[in-house]
Symmetry: C4
Subunit: 215 residues, 4 copies
C-alpha cells in the first residue's frame, strides 16, 4: 500500500472535481467583483467637488484594473492547471483550499494599494500575497508531477515548462515591491515592462514543435 | 502553422468552456446582486422621517431596476453569443475576461447614478461603461467570425445580424448621455423610447424565413 | 408560424438552461448570504455594553432567519418549477430575469425589517416584495401551462396544483402585512400559524394516489 | 406507502442534486470570501500610524485564517457526505437548507471574534454556531443511514465512522469555548492541539483494510 493509496482511503474515495471547481470559480468570481467596492466617492459632494472627487478616483480605478488583471491571470493559470490534471488526490484538494484562501484574501492588499498607494509597505504586502498564491500553485504542480498526474507541456521542457509562469510572475512582483520599498513607489510600475521579454521567452520555451490538428 | 494554431498551442490545448461560463455567470450574478446595496435608509430615522426617507428612495430603486435591466440584457447577449460559438480559442477567453472586468465595474457608475443623478457627468460615466462592454462584445463577434467559429444568424444578414444588438444599444446609451450632459438630465430617459423602433427593425432583420421545427 | 415559434427565432434557437440555472442559483446564493451583513454590533463597545449590544441583536437574528426561510422557500419553489418544465421558451427566460430582479431586491426590505421593525410600513414593503416574486412565479406557471410545457401535478388538480403554493404563501404574507399596518406589528407574526392548516390542505390536494416506485 | 414515499411525492419527484450542490457551493464560496471584509484599516492614517494600524491587523488576519479553515473543513465534510449519498430525499434537501443557513451565518461570529476577541462571550457564540453546523450534519448522516442511503465507511465502524469527524470537531470547539468563557481567552487556542491525537485516532478507525485499486 503506497502513501498515495492511504491518502485516497482517508478521503473516502474519489474527489468530486466538479464541486471543487465550482467552489474555486465562486471564490474567484467574488474576489473579482468585490474589488469594485473600493471605487466610491462621498455621498455629499456636488458640482466642482463632485468632479474633483471623480477625477481623484484615478488611482482607485487603476488599482481595480491591476487587481482584476492579477486575479484574472491567477484564474487562467488555475483553469489551465486543473484541465491537465488527470488524477486528483485529496492532497491536491487541500492545497487548492489553501490557494483559494490566499485568492480570497487579495481584496485586502488590493484595497490597501488603492487607498494607501503612497505607503511603500502596501506594495510589499500586495506582492507577498500574490507570490504566496504562486508558491501554492507551484506546490500543486510539484505534487502532481511527483504522482505522474500532470500532462507534460508540449514544448522542449515538458516538466519545467509548468513552472515558467509562476516563477516569471513572482519575479516581476518581487522586483516591483523591491523598487517601491526602496523608496520609489512611483517607479515601481516600470517593473511591468519586464513582462514583455519574460512572456516572449516563456512562450518560446513552451512552444510545441508539431502542428496540432484543428478540432 | 497558422496564427490560430499558435494561439491554441500557447493556451496548452482545449479551453474548458464550462469553467469560463461558470466564472462569467458568477461575475454577472454578483454584479446583479451588489446593486441592492445602494438602496438603504439611515438607521436612526423614525415616524414621518422614516416615511420621507423611504419615499426618497425612489431614484435609488429606479436606478436599481435600470442597472438590473442593463446587466440582465448584457447577460442575455453573453448567453446568446457563447451558445453559438463552435470553437473557442484562447483569445476569446482573454477577451471574455476583459468583458467581465467591465461588467464587474458596472456597480460603480450604477451607484454614481443612484446617488448623484443630478450631476450630468454620472450619465456620461455610466454610458461609457455600458458602451465599453458592448465594444468588447463586438470585438468577440468580429474575432469569432474571422475564424469562422460563429453560427450565422438565420435572417437576411447572417454576419451583420450579430452586430445589430450591440450597435443599437450603444447608440441609445450615447443619445441618453448626450442629452444629459447637454444640460437636460431630466429628459435623458426619453432616449429609452428610441428602443421601440430599433428593437422592431432589429427583430425584422434577424427574422428567420423558414419555420423552425418545434422540439 | 405561431407566436411561440417567432419567440424562439428571436432568441436564436435553444436556451442553454444550464447557464440560466447557474445565474439563478448564484443570485439566490448571494441574496441568502448578504442577509448576514445586517447582523453587526458597534466596534467600540466593551464589557456590559457589549453584552447588551449582543442581546439587542435578537430582532436582527430573527429577521435573518425569517428572510433566509423566505428566500430558501422561494429557491425550493424555483427548483421544483424548473425541474418540471420540459421545453423552455425565451419568454420564460425573460420572466426568470424579472423573478431574479425581485429576489435580488429582497435584502433591502429584509434590512428594513431588521432595523425598522417598529415601523408598520416595513412589513408592507417586505410583503409587497415577496408577493411580487410569487406573482412572477405564477406567471411563469401560467405561460408554461398554456404552452403545454409543464408536467401536471400528480394529485387531483393536475393544473391548479401548481398554483397552490404561491397563492397560499402570498395570502399569509398579505394577512401578516395587514395586521402590522393596522397597528399591531407585534401580533403580525401570529399570521405564520395560518401556514399549518394551509400546508396540510395543500399537501392533500397535491397528493399522488398511486405508489411511486422507489428508485 | 411508506413515509419516505410520501416525502418524495410531496417534493414532486426526484431532487435535482446539481442545483442543490450549486446553491451550496455558492453559499460556501460567498461565506469564505466575505470574511476578508473584516480586514481593513482606516483611510486617514499615514506613516508610522499606518504601520501601527497594519501590525494591529494581526488578530483580524488570524481570525480570517481560522474562520477560513473552519468553513473550508465544513465544505470538505459537506462534499464528502453528499458524494456518498446514493438516494436524496426531499427531507435531506430541507436539512441542507438549514445547514446552509448556519454556514451563511458564520461571518457574524467570525467578525465578532475578529473585533471583540477580548470578550469571552465571542468565543461561546462562535463555538455555538460551528457546533450547530456539525449537529445538522450529524442529523443528515442519521436520516440518510436510517434510509440506507449512505455508503458505509470502509473502516472497522462502517456506520459510526461517519460521526467521528463532527463529534471530534464539536468536542474541540466546546473545550475551546469553555476555556475562553472560564476566563482564559488567551489560552483557548491551546485547545486546537487536541486535534492532533483526535485526528490520528479518527483516521485509524476509518482506515480501510483492503488495498483499493488505483483508478
Amino acid at each position: 500500500m503506497t502513501e498515495g493509496d492511504e491518502d485516497d482511503a482517508d478521503a473516502g474515495g474519489e474527489v468530486d472535481l466538479g464541486r471543487v471547481l465550482a467552489l474555486s470559480d465562486g471564490v474567484f468570481a467574488i474576489a473579482l467583483t468585490l474589488l469594485v467596492l473600493d471605487i466610491r466617492i462621498p455621498d455629499e459632494v456636488h458640482g466642482a467637488d463632485f468632479l474633483r472627487a471623480l477625477s481623484g478616483l484615478e488611482p482607485a480605478i487603476a488599482g481595480y484594473l491591476i487587481s482584476y488583471l492579477v486575479i484574472g491571470v491567477l484564474w487562467l493559470a488555475h483553469h489551465r492547471l486543473f484541465r491537465e490534471l488527470r488524477v486528483r488526490h485529496a492532497r491536491i484538494m487541500s492545497l487548492n483550499m489553501v490557494l483559494l484562501a490566499l485568492v480570497a484574501l487579495l481584496p485586502f492588499p488590493s484595497s490597501l494599494l488603492a487607498k494607501h498607494g503612497d505607503e511603500s509597505v502596501s506594495y510589499a504586502v500586495y506582492a507577498a500575497n500574490v507570490v504566496a498564491v504562486f508558491a501554492v500553485q507551484t506546490l500543486i504542480i510539484a505534487v502532481s508531477q511527483r504522482n505522474g498526474d500532470l500532462t507534460p507541456k508540449p514544448g522542449r521542457f515538458p516538466r519545467f515548462g509548468w513552472y515558467l509562469q509562476p516563477i516569471t510572475a513572482s519575479f516581476v512582483f518581487v522586483v516591483w515591491a523591491v523598487v517601491a520599498v526602496s523608496g520609489h513607489p512611483g517607479q515601481a510600475n516600470y517593473a511591468w515592462w519586464l513582462l514583455v521579454p519574460l512572456v516572449l521567452v516563456s512562450r518560446r520555451l513552451n512552444q510545441s514543435k508539431q502542428v496540432l490538428p484543428q478540432h
